[in-house]
Amino acid sequence: MLDVRGIAVRYGNFIAVDGVDLHVGAGEVVGLIGPNGAGKSSLLRAVNGLLRPAAGSVDFNGARIDPLGPAARLRAGLASVPEGRGIFAGMSVAENLAMGGYPLGSRAQQAANIDHACTLFPILAERRHQRAGTLSGGQQQMLAIAMGLMSSPTMLMLDEPSLGLAPIVIGELARIFRRLKSEGLTILLVEQNAKLTCDVADRIYVMQSGRILMHDTPAVLLRNPLMAESFLSVG
């Protein structure tokens, strides 16, 4: 579904992503983990179009999307949830959802997606008219995910959704990701929390210093001593 080949991202002389290949198949949940500054977010921004990569190509459903802007990638079905509460704090929950559904155009589809978001996250239905900034951290992250789903994507990329959340809320996130997968959504989960990623991902890429260090199923990675030492001790 998503094929990333040889992506490189540079900030001036600094090479943040150094020739990364990554593949996500339809219906898969793929994790991308690595320490701070590994280049995970830069890679994600090259895939969703916020950033122009210095080299490499991005294919989505067999068509090259790297010349496209973020809006066109979104219309192709590739949505993303940015790092750190991707919401408009001053707008109400309902307005935030409407912003997420903006590329749809069709009001009926938008209403259906709001209903779907509200069954996934009942709290959002309750807080519909509340200002998003007054929600708790966990609720804000739920809203950010719901906004990502509003454009009816076939694939959703999330950048560190667990950041700063209580363990119980992280458990809730895992439940939501499994449910979304069962509904047929393809997910790329960028995380520092290796435990959450191992819980939900079919395959995991481990990234360090701009490169893919290794890539395997969670079961195999968990047996890898290097992996266990570098990443799982923190999780």
Binding site: L50, A71, F88, G90, M91, A98, Y102
Partner: protein, 314 residues
């Protein structure tokens, strides 16, 4: 607002009734019409400064371009005001978009600075190209528009007051409709978090340019009206202070709301007329207000009131 019609009809009646009622009181009519003109400017400034989060201190410069262009077309080229007005407005609005291009790169304070430079250069240009603008002396005895109803007649006095009141009213109503639309919400999204807006598929560049064009249309549409209303224009009419005054009306009333600029304009627009003999006092008051607004009331009067009225969370 679910039932806007009574409010729309009421405000329209007020805009028609006020100039008619003041037909016998020229000084009061002058103040009221001046306020309507400021209302138009404030509504346009608010779309950019309040909703999109871009403060253009070159606003009055756009008004100036439009005013000089229209007056030139009428007094030199012999155009009818009714042809020169829309042409000057469109040209100046396009210039406004060009001058707004730095906003695509510069954020917040840095754009304000760049627009301040643009405004200063425009003021200098109005002075320097004296063959077109008559320099610091300004252009006086600008003829009133020809009457659209009576052949050979002119539209002056109450007729012109009515025209300006209606344009001001339409400007506020259009800005209200825009702010409540999906486009208005996207402008707010661009102001709040341009990167998130982009992630959600909003074309940030288009939104900023569109906001600049619409806001410049407001600035430009008012220029020719101001010229025929006052009968005199000079570089001082369109200088940095003029831009700041418009911004102050918006910010003092409350940016990013429709009521805010209305409140700000109603309070501040008549002020200079009451302080005619004390020009410096006016500038001091404005300066103090600018400080008060930026330091103590970032949400303006409207923000302050709605904060008080919002129920406190337990």
């Amino acid at each position: 607002m679910s039932r806007p019609w009574p409010l729309l009809a009421g405000s329209l009646a007020l805009c028609i009734g006020l100039p008619l009622a003041l037909a016998g009181a020229p000084f009061a009519a002058y103040i009221v019409t001046g306020a309507f003109l400021q209302l138009l400017f404030a509504a346009g400034m608010n779309l950019l400064s309040g909703y999109t989060g871009i403060t253009p201190l070159s606003f009055a410069g756009i008004t100036g371009i439009s005013a000089y262009l229209c007056v030139g077309l009428v007094m030199r080229a012999g155009w009818s005001f009714w042809a020169a007005w829309p042409v000057a407005t469109l040209v100046a609005a396009f210039v406004g978009v060009l001058l707004g291009l730095p906003a695509l790169r510069l954020r917040g304070f840095y754009f304000v600075l760049s627009s301040l430079v643009v405004q200063t250069v425009l003021t200098l240009a109005f002075t320097a190209f004296a063959s077109l603008t008559n320099g610091d002396t300004g252009i006086s005895q600008i003829p009133p528009p020809s009457s659209p109803f009576v052949a050979g007649g002119t539209l002056g006095g109450t007729g012109l007051d009515l025209l300006i009141a209606l344009v001001g009213w339409a400007g506020v109503v259009i800005s209200w409709r825009l702010a409540g639309s999906g486009f208005g919400r996207r402008l707010v999204a661009v102001r709040e978090d341009p990167e998130l807006a982009e992630t959600l598929g909003v074309d940030v560049v288009f939104c900023k340019l569109a906001a600049f064009f619409i806001s410049s249309l407001y600035a430009a549409a008012g220029g020719p009206l101001m010229a025929v209303f006052v009968g005199f224009i000079s570089p001082r009419s369109f200088d940095l202070l003029a831009s700041l005054n418009i911004w102050l009306m918006v910010a003092f009333g409350g940016q990013g709301s429709i009521a805010g600029p209305l409140i700000g304009t109603l309070i501040l627009a008549p002020l200079p007329s009451f302080l005619l003999g004390y020009y410096q006092v006016k500038d001091i008051i404005y300066g103090l207000l600018i400080i008060t607004v930026t330091v103590a009331m970032p949400g303006g009067i409207h923000g302050w009131i709605s904060n008080r009225m919002r129920p406190r969370l337990p």
